[in-house]
């Protein structure tokens, strides 16, 4: 039988070298999802009962108001007895704020400002930015209906509702134009959230500050602290998440917050 030892030796050495080179490590899975950021401002504000003013123009009057004068009248909501002299409630108000949304990619330590899925830049506070307070939170949509008020002669008060200072009905009555609610110039009526793509392991950082009282439209009653607070909400893939840091400002003027979340 021919000597096969040299062959076996070569095969053994080759097998050992191949075993050294084997690597069965699997690469990490990267999952992309949509992050949605929204902000809301609340304050302790007065409540008002507002009515549309109609007129019975019939001659003689037939008790049916037929013309909407186009005016709205608002009066402070009568306080309950006993109770505080002025009715207040915590409600949303339109308020401007500065904002910066950034992301730290997995495995890095540097922040980069996000760009939304519609191409919007995620910051209004970069050096030289002309309008840091371009963003504004939404109005208060709450307006429970009221029964009609008794008419006065030919003037009728219809379609009554209780609204806060942050409701567009009151702001129209007061003649105050605060602007259009938006987030980084994207109207909230178009999309209520600022959406961008994130991957597993990325860390989202949200920084925001309220516009100072001195620069805001004068629709809040500053004789009493309205306790204005700005807060952010974050959802990943449609699921709300709890952020690290603080996502709610204090009630101090021009205060803000910084919060973060690492995508699991």
């Amino acid at each position: 039988m021919r000597n096969a030892w040299p062959t076996y030796a070569v095969v053994l050495v080759a097998a050992v070298l191949v075993a050294v080179g084997c690597d069965s490590t699997q690469p990490d899975r990267i999952q992309s999802r949509t992050a949605s950021v929204s902000l809301r401002t609340t304050a302790k504000v007065d409540l008002y009962d507002c009515f549309e003013v109609w007129q019975d123009t019939s001659n003689p009057q037939d008790g049916v108001p037929d013309v909407n004068t186009g005016f709205v009248t608002c009066e402070p909501t009568p306080p309950p007895i006993p109770g505080p002299p002025v009715v207040k409630a915590i409600r949303s108000i339109p308020w401007r704020y500065s904002l910066r949304i950034s992301v730290i990619r997995k495995g890095t330590t540097t922040e980069e400002v996000v760009v939304s899925e519609s191409g919007l830049f995620g910051s209004s506070v970069e050096p030289g930015d002309p309008n840091p307070f371009i963003s504004m939170t939404e109005f208060d949509p709450t307006s429970p209906a009221l029964p009609d008020r008794p008419h006065a002669d030919d003037i009728y008060f219809l379609n009554g509702k209780t609204v806060s200072l942050g409701n567009p009905t009151y702001l129209t009555f007061a003649g105050i134009d605060v602007g259009t609610p938006n987030i980084l110039s994207q109207p909230l009526t178009v999309a209520p959230t600022f959406d961008f793509t994130v991957n597993t392991g990325d860390t989202i950082v949200i920084r925001a500050r309220k516009q100072p009282f001195v620069d805001a439209p004068p629709f809040l009653h500053f004789d009493q602290d309205p306790e204005v607070t700005l807060e952010a909400a974050l959802a990943i893939g449609g699921t709300p998440v709890v952020m690290a840091g603080t996502s709610v400002s204090s009630i101090d003027d021009a205060s803000g917050f910084s919060s973060s979340f690492t995508v699991p």
Binding site: A4, P6, F133, S260, T262
Partner: protein, 398 residues
């Protein structure tokens, strides 16, 4: 692939090959007895396989081997981490890499021994990253304790390290046959050793997402970088170098189990005297206002200014860097080296051998770390390094 699995592969190969080799030559049948005037003389026994004859001027053997040693005893703790309330160290270990061993032997004429030169070089350059943004679970255990961490409590939410560990071993020995029998051959050696070891460690501790009150409009000017007051990372650099030379001795044994297969084993010990140099430095930082740069702000003071301060107050806040450093050169020190191996050797062709061994190479007291303590004293840690793995190589004698 772990060393344990590789050992198993090696032993399986041997277990498969040896029985086959045992059937290499059929047993000759004894001829039936016959009435012949004279039985033929038996054929001479085949000579055992051997190396080429020495030339008049001697001979050479060149040997090259490769191995993927696992670094042991030289792990560096870069930080402490906490998971579910349980703390544990974070080590910078090392990935195994293919390294070479070179051996050149000059065989003196008339079988008067050999002059052996051998060189081993190990080089491990590894990096580590551990990031947990916003979760300050990393304790800066290697940094000098002053102003560590954005919260001044010595914690970070990320750590990055780079570690270089390098060993060089050169031997020049005279070797001679100690004994040679049917069952074993022994060789002793003695000679010169030179050992060097270098270790460099760099660690950076980060505060990636401290969530400090935002320094954005309206509390800063329009041309201010929103990240101006992002915390500077803390850093640690530690270095140790040792070089020494001395004497060593070795003993190798070969057990022939077949005409061309042997079990080989060896032990080499070295004692060297040398000097080591070492250096250590830490950088950290604290927040202070420009009118009082030497008065660190506490974390509460900092957040109060950033939350409710005026534009002027916030603009006056900055970070001051602090450095703590120490470098020393030690007196002479003794280091030890141990080299043990066992394996299989096969004579593949006349003068050409293929071998596979399991090897353990160890260096003791090859340098030291010297670290300053807050009370002004220093803490010294002796450094060891070990390498274990399997070696595959070929030698050629001519």
């Amino acid at each position: 692939m772990s060393v344990k699995t590789s050992w198993l592969a090696l032993l399986c190969g041997i277990a498969l090959a040896l029985p086959v080799a045992a059937q290499d030559e059929p047993v000759p049948q004894a001829p039936p007895p016959e009435e012949t005037p004279a039985a033929p003389a038996p054929a001479p026994a085949k000579p055992r396989a051997s190396d080429p004859e020495l030339h008049r001027w001697g001979g050479w053997t060149v040997s090259v081997a490769g191995w993927n040693p696992t670094l042991v005893g030289a792990e560096e703790e870069v930080a402490l981490t906490s998971t579910a309330g349980v703390g544990h160290p974070l080590f910078q270990d090392s990935d195994a890499r293919i390294r070479e061993t070179l051996r050149l032997v000059y065989h003196l004429p008339k079988d008067n021994g050999s002059i052996v030169g051998q060189y081993d070089g190990m080089y491990n350059d590894d990096s580590l990253q551990y990031f947990s943004p916003g979760q300050f679970q990393v304790v800066e255990s290697r940094a000098f304790p002053q102003f560590l961490g954005v919260f001044d409590n010595g914690t970070a939410d990320g750590v990055e390290s780079q570690a270089l560990r390098r060993s060089r071993d050169f031997r020049l020995e005279y070797q001679r046959k100690a004994f040679d029998s049917k069952w074993a051959r022994g060789t002793w050696g003695a000679g010169y050793r030179e050992v060097s070891h270098q270790r460099t460690l760099g660690i950076t501790y980060f505060a990636i997402v401290p969530n400090l009150p935002p320094t954005i409009r309206p509390v800063v000017e329009g041309n201010t970088d929103p990240l101006r007051l992002a915390p500077l990372p803390d850093g640690v650099t530690q270095e140790a170098k040792f070089t020494g030379h001395g004497l060593g001795a070795s003993f190798e044994v070969e057990f022939p189990v077949h005409r061309i297969v042997s079990i080989v084993s060896g032990l080499s010990v070295g004692l060297v005297r040398g000097k080591s140099t070492n250096a250590f430095s830490t950088t950290s930082s604290y927040y202070a206002q420009s009118n009082t740069p030497n008065t660190p702000l506490t974390f509460d003071e900092l957040t109060a200014i950033l939350s409710n301060g005026t534009i002027t107050e916030i603009a006056s806040v900055d970070q001051q860097v602090v450095v703590a450093a120490l470098s020393t050169t030690s007196q002479s020190q003794f280091a030890e080296s141990y080299d043990i191996y066992v394996g299989v050797q096969v004579l593949a062709y006349k003068g050409v051998r293929v071998f596979a061994t399991v090897r353990d190479l160890s260096y003791r007291n090859v340098g030291e770390y010297v670290v300053p303590r807050p009370d002004g004293s220093t803490e010294t840690t002796s450094l060891d390094a070990g390498y274990e793995g399997y070696t595959v190589g070929v030698s050629w004698r001519f």
